[in-house]
Symmetry: C2
């Protein structure tokens, strides 16, 4: 078993996370316009998820406060290109924690502090994908989300 200490729940050099995201964007030749850049920067601040309107409130460029579609457009682009993931259980968004090798992304989500640990789920959960494929199902996307309270939040409660 590898990776028993999820990154998001432990101290780490977060600059590396941030740099990995920027690099991935560059390598893919993505076009990071001002809003996309700003949204991504916000999400890269830490491993917490943010709601679209929470992001929207913090968005601003030269004194201009944009409308909802602006935030949603940026998020849509970033999700499509794998730099951001949507956390379905929270209607929220989080920066991809491993943009250079992101496959079978599963998430461990704290209900209290909203930190999100991103883990590559292994073969066992992927049974579902096998069953889907065997029955002629064409899979478009898959999520595995575990929700609860992280160790830190348990202590402070």
């Amino acid at each position: 078993m590898k990776n028993t200490v999820p990154l998001a729940f432990s101290d780490h050099n977060h600059e590396k996370c941030r740099a990995a995201s920027i690099n991935a964007a560059y390598r893919q030749g993505l076009r990071l316009t001002k809003w996309r850049q700003l949204v991504l920067d916000l999400l890269l601040e830490d491993h917490r998820s943010m709601g679209a309107y929470e992001i929207l409130e913090k968005l601003e460029c030269h004194g201009v406060k944009p409308q909802p579609p602006t935030a949603y457009r940026a998020l849509e682009y970033l999700v499509e290109h794998g730099l951001v993931h949507r956390i379905e259980k929270q209607n929220a968004y989080v920066a991809c924690a491993r943009p250079d090798m992101c496959r079978n992304a599963g998430f461990i989500v704290c209900k209290t502090c909203r930190k999100v640990a991103e883990i590559e789920y292994a073969s066992s959960e992927a049974d579902l994908l096998h069953i889907a494929a065997e029955s002629g199902f064409e899979t478009k996307s898959a999520i595995m989300e575990v929700e609860g309270v992280c160790a830190d939040c348990q202590k402070s409660a």
Copy 2:
């Protein structure tokens, strides 16, 4: 590999599904009030998911059309007691397909016809749950959802 033909995507005696749900409710001594009963009946019609407002529109008792909280209260109760699952990717609800042995429920969801196949995603220890537990995380709930287009819908497209 067992269960390679998901129930929802194949012909089957659906009366048995319906009966299993009713039996489970009875065995657990659940209190199925009129609205709970009506909502459950709606969801038990087949293995398709329904949105809360879709359910609400079809709800009616002696000519009385209830308000949103009525539907949400019934759904909350049924979900809490395991007779109904919430499909996060669709903001929708579906009757539990195996209420007598429902653990580690994963879902294969067709974007087109909204049929939902319910599969136990791992018989042994699921990796994500394992990692969560090892890091002191207290898991409250977990979902695994695979979304795409089922074989039937591919043909008719």
